[in-house]
Subunit: 754 residues, 2 copies
């Protein structure tokens, strides 16, 4: 298998395993399962009861355990005893335990050789093979393979192949384990289990208003399956004769199906029953075809740098895996690959993840925004609770739009998410569907009303101030006139005014929208944009003194109190604004901001570095940009540091895509231009970079070299293109080659004025 | 009974009962028990399991229940599952249930007449009598009486008298109920119960490293006591013949005794066993004598205003009740009369409560400060945890000096407590024992070191700033250079320098103490002292719009976020500083501060109004001062508003005393003067006010009228006195009369310059 399409492991490491479970998560947008072992590990109980204190979200503490199961259905949430609601870690359905002569197969305790595990990014198939030198003699070759069907939404398909170097017997158990806690809490108010025929088992868990029904089927040519059930586990067990060098094959198919509590659960309703005529190969084939379609519009090819190639494909794989299928859900902060952040939705979706979908799978992009429109009532209720008008989106939302963040500093003060959503709606409407502004009109106006009630006028009414705000940089507790927030709100209000005019709403309010938009200050001191009014009053962070171990976050080495009273930044804030509003600022201002804030920025948030990558490119700091690219794109691949242990940094996947397309390829977004525009700055390490883009409904294929850019129009109509100032028009199917200017150093840009 | 010495109730009200339980708390400095009913109420389970979220301390939510038991031993703390440690609500030992013909005595469900309950403040005896018209006919007169012995530390003594208008039988049960939760949590890891002889029962509960042994004895002339035990309750029951008009008497005596887990609990070790020869009357007599001694040095007599008289005596009663007996404990925020604030210790002790003891019971005052010296190691550990040198006292301390506050905004940022302690030490050393500075020298130097590591220098080193601080006003989240904190820290550092010089510590550090003390800014704008650097940037609180119901706290009507971004104050902050450092500020500055801050102050904290009372007196705003006195002194007496439901506002008791003595009597503290000085401003509603004061070891008796002040020297030596500028010297036993000047209106003070 091509290593540019595959995540591979050639050894089993208990230390690294949990990170690989996160990284190897499979899914189809609906059902997601972490890359755990079919046979599991001993000494890894998944039912440990614990409760995390709702302290700092940044520094959540998880029990140190080698393997952590994770089976999630997008949007299937239950109660958390302290923290309102959280995603539910469902019963583990992948279990296939193997016993030989009383010895249980176990990667830690058995003698294992020729270990190999790989996740095929092209179709999301996870396979593992190894040789098991059993205690009693026979050498057994084991091959696991599994995928979550991309054509049958709740279904996971598994195959196990076994062979031996001598005749022997082997026992296989396959079933469902419902003794699973979510963040240390048992979400299941009831667990019901029963046999469902000769080769099927059934389990139903009750969670708040719903149940999840799980039907598992075991398929084998030989063997007699016998039902077992104890505690909260059930399944089927059978003994198989293994004839020397003759492989036996066992399949397991499982379906998870949400059932309303009122409804009876008829097994006949399960789709699994309809698939009996399809072989494993049939199912795999249709599954792979579906993945081919997903990749067709979204792959990025990089020549001459297999590391970057694999990294960008890994990011895209997870973005494709989490692509939302159904109404009423979004993409959670850990990409449905872990329990961290409780499966809730953040601004990450709109700002970091959305652009990938806008320019590759626009219909999926809309689903993410529809989620916000659907939860507008929750946002209105949230505004009301805080004593404001209009609609204010929660910092951490559940599927109902309720605030779920237990840390008031974020929930109360990190209000930019509301404006971020409007920014994203504007982006989508410009890129894909201008009529979407009408669909979102109530949201746009209601959020505008919220801002009107949230501002404080200065004494002479010369400025409208947002006081007591936390910006993206969560290491500044509350401040006045956070530049990022104010700029976002300005956009929000301008759009509120625009939409109000179209819908003929009251003039007084329109005037207010416009006036406040105009009077929101962006604090500055000469050319330096200030993160907030009081930024300069904060103390120096003294990193040399307090941040001794740079391999660990700054926040893990100092008290929160120090974070809050010093100039240290968790993540880009002013630079973030400059990335999202590039035309508002001169290069000189950007340079000034970089020079001032970069030394203060800890990048303790995974959302930080990527943004610095863009700014470095804008400032033509190629080496810095490349260094950042390496770190950002490799984040979850860093198995040794356990980066993906609690899930995928899905926002970082989106940022990796943006850094490739908006950064290196220099593509301008629809917010900046109506004409497909590239201003490429290809890394010298790459020979070429190619990808497809959906530009306002038209698809183009782009291949970039260091001096030329080839663009092919894949659509039926004409399309205008601008590459570093050279404009052209491509007819349907036409390909054109553009020369582009060499890099310009930042020094040469100093004459640019505002 | 004189109503100026007694809290009386003439009816039973379920609505008001919980507040009266708090207000009627009895205690002897060691053991404290809320004023609950001996027979209890039905439908009031005390074992409800719940867990409060560690959200805003200000707005704690308690289950709405008619009666809440509370049995506390000072400093006997156990674990809370989320919040580190808390005081333990011990088993209820007062139980005396009465049954007639199957009918249980119950204040809510039975027909009760001639109800009367009173707490005798002079000796802390709580008595209740009423007539019970039983369902089956007999009219039974019931008289309960009880006190917590002031001469036998763990012992509570009860008496029950019963009589009937016709011959009948009655059953009485008396025992121990260990099915009690503390803040909804079961602190007892083990409950052991047994019979302990014919008329005694024993119970032992295990809490962390200790056990509490409880021995109860029932004494009666007739009746046979039978042991019962079920669940976590045990006791003795007996049936008594009630002959018409012949009263029977039942006594119950209980001892609570702390037992190390290693130790066996020998019942013979219980003091209770030694009291068998003493009658109820004997015990009451020695108890009352002890209380007489307590009152002798601390009573305040007010002529012509029984309301104020009862109010000040109620405050003094609770201060005397909570007077610390043993090493290693202090006085918790609710005066051991409820579970709120988890029985932890705050700055309330040093700033609000301590002065009462300094000037009436100086040895008890020292115990409170000794507690801080004893927990210096905890404070050092706390500084270290935050990354600082020296010692930093916790915002909410347990008996080990550990931070127990689960709300980081207070724990991390409300740092003034450390300097408050040093202020109190200085106060005590000047008033009572100058050598105490030596005893506290390590504390004084270590706290100074903490401040050196906590400050941030301005760029040119012209100011040493304390950034990210919460002052006494908890509605300002964090701010720079909180005036109150900076002023306190200045005192702390000056004393650190002074002590360092005496002990010959290193010169560089002394220089730093002095330099930082000098360079801590008190922010100001002309004559207006600013609460903090940024105070003027906050928004207007718009009380008219958002604080519609002034009978409830502002905080209960708006979100915390609004509190944090507006100018609203929870309590006095700049005015608090002006009260504690009166000579630092001119009347003009004080007036300016009052005019500016008073309209912004919500007094949501019970610590606020009293301070405004002093300032109003300083500014000769007599009516305002009187209005404040009424509110402050009546706070816990306000049964209708349930003020004392969760315990006594013991800091407010201390403030009431201060407002009387430092306010109306105008006594200057030892921090201000070495000569006993009064500058009286007696309310026109009073004819006279008299009290004893311990001035530097000498006792004087003071009686104030509107124009003259009589002072009698009760000590053996001479004492100098100054009354409104008139100086005199009193020999031993000498009494003198001073005329003092009429009030001067604030307008007349305008010429005073700084």
């Amino acid at each position: 298998m091509n290593s540019e399409w595959s995540l591979q492991q050639t050894y089993f490491s208990a230390q690294e395993f949990r990170a690989s479970e996160g990284l190897f998560t499979q899914g189809n947008g609906y059902l997601h399962i972490r890359g755990s072992l079919e046979e599991h590990l001993s000494d890894c109980p998944q039912n440990v009861e614990y409760r995390r204190k709702p302290t700092n979200v940044t520094a959540e503490k998880f029990p140190n355990i080698t393997s952590r199961w994770g089976t999630f259905i997008a949007g299937f949430m239950g109660k958390h005893p302290i923290l309102n609601s959280q995603i539910v870690n469902l019963p583990y359905v992948l279990g296939l335990k193997i016993f030989h002569d009383g010895e249980a197969l176990d990667m830690v305790h058995c003698e294992i050789a020729s270990y190999s595990r790989q996740l095929n990014l092209r179709n999301g198939v996870l396979s593992r093979s190894f040789v098991w030198r059993t205690v009693s003699g026979p050498i057994i070759t084991v091959r696991f393979e599994r995928f979550i069907s991309s054509t049958h939404k709740g279904i996971v398909v598994q195959r196990l192949k076994l062979s031996s170097d001598e005749d022997t017997n082997i026992q296989v158990q396959g079933g469902i384990d419902a003794d699973v806690r979510t963040n240390g809490y048992d979400c299941f108010s009831e667990v019901f289990m029963e046999s469902a025929g000769s080769n099927k088992v059934y389990c139903k868990v009750k969670v708040d208003g719903y149940s999840m029904g799980i039907l598992s089927e075991l398929i084998s040519d030989s063997g007699d399956w016998e039902y077992y059930q104890f505690s909260k586990k059930n399944g089927l067990a059978s003994i198989f004769e293994l004839k020397k060098a003759i492989e036996i094959v066992i399949e397991k198919r499982t379906e998870l199906k949400k059932i309303g509590l009122e409804k009876e659960d008829f097994l006949a309703d399960f789709e699994l029953e309809d698939l009996y005529s399809l072989t494993y190969e049939n199912l795999l084939e249709e599954h792979t075809k579906q993945w081919d379609l997903k990749w067709r519009d979204s792959d990025i090819c990089i020549e001459n740098d297999p590391v970057s190639q694999l990294a960008i494909r890994t990011s895209i794989y997870h973005l494709l895996r989490t692509e939302v299928l159904e109404k009423g859900v979004s993409i959670d902060a850990k990409g449905y690959a872990g329990e961290a952040y409780y499966g809730r939705y953040f601004w990450d979706t709109e700002i970091y993840i959305l652009p990938f979908y806008i320019y590759t799978h626009p219909m999926s992009a809309q689903k993410l925004l529809d989620f916000r429109i659907n939860t507008l009532d929750g946002a209105k209720e949230n505004a009301r609770k805080y004593g404001y008008s209009g609609a204010r989106y929660p910092w951490q939302t559940d599927i109902h739009g309720r605030e779920c963040c237990a840390n008031w500093q974020y929930a109360d003060h990190e209000i930019h998410v509301t404006a971020d959503i409007v920014y994203a709606i504007l982006h989508y409407s410009k890129a894909v569907k201008s009529s979407y502004l009408n669909e979102a009109s109530e949201l746009i106006i209601e959020t505008g009303k919220y801002w009107l009630s949230r501002i404080s006028w200065s004494e002479n009414n010369s400025t409208a101030n947002l006081l007591g705000v936390m910006g993206p940089d969560e290491y500044t507790l509350v401040s006045n006139n956070n530049a990022y927030t104010n700029r976002m709100v300005k956009l929000n209000l301008e759009l509120s005014a625009h939409i109000s005019k179209l819908t003929g709403k009251n003039n007084r309010e329109i005037k207010m929208f416009e006036e406040v938009a105009q009077k929101l200050p962006i604090p500055r001191k000469g050319d330096l944009i200030l993160q907030c009014d009081e930024f300069e009053t904060f103390a120096e962070p003294e990193f040399d003194k307090y941040w001794q171990d740079r391999s660990k976050p700054f926040a893990s080495q100092v008290s929160q109190e120090r974070l809050y009273r010093t100039k240290c930044l968790k993540q880009a804030d002013v630079l973030m604004m400059m990335y999202l509003f590039p035309n508002d600022f001169t290069n000189q201002e950007v340079k000034k901001a970089w020079d001032y804030y970069y030394p203060y920025t800890t990048h303790d948030s995974s959302l930080s570095l990527s943004i610095h990558g863009f700014i470095a490119l804008r400032l033509r700091m190629h080496e810095k940009a490349w260094e950042i690219w390496r770190k950002v794109s490799m984040l979850d691949l860093d198995i040794k540091n356990g980066s993906a242990a609690e899930g995928i940094h899905i926002a970082s996947c989106g940022a990796t895509w943006q850094l490739a397309v908006f950064g290196f390829a220099g593509m301008k977004t629809s917010l900046e231009t109506d004409i497909l525009t590239f201003d490429p700055i290809l890394p010298k390490q790459w020979k070429s970079m190619s990808f497809r883009i959906n530009w306002k409904g038209q698809k183009v294929f782009v291949r970039l070299y260091h001096d030329v850019c080839k663009i092919k129009n894949l659509s039926n109509g004409n399309i205008q293109v601008n590459v570093s100032g050279a404009r052209g028009k491509l007819n349907a199917d036409q390909e054109a080659v553009f020369q582009y200017r060499p890099d310009v150093e930042i020094e040469a840009l100093e004459e640019v004025t505002r």
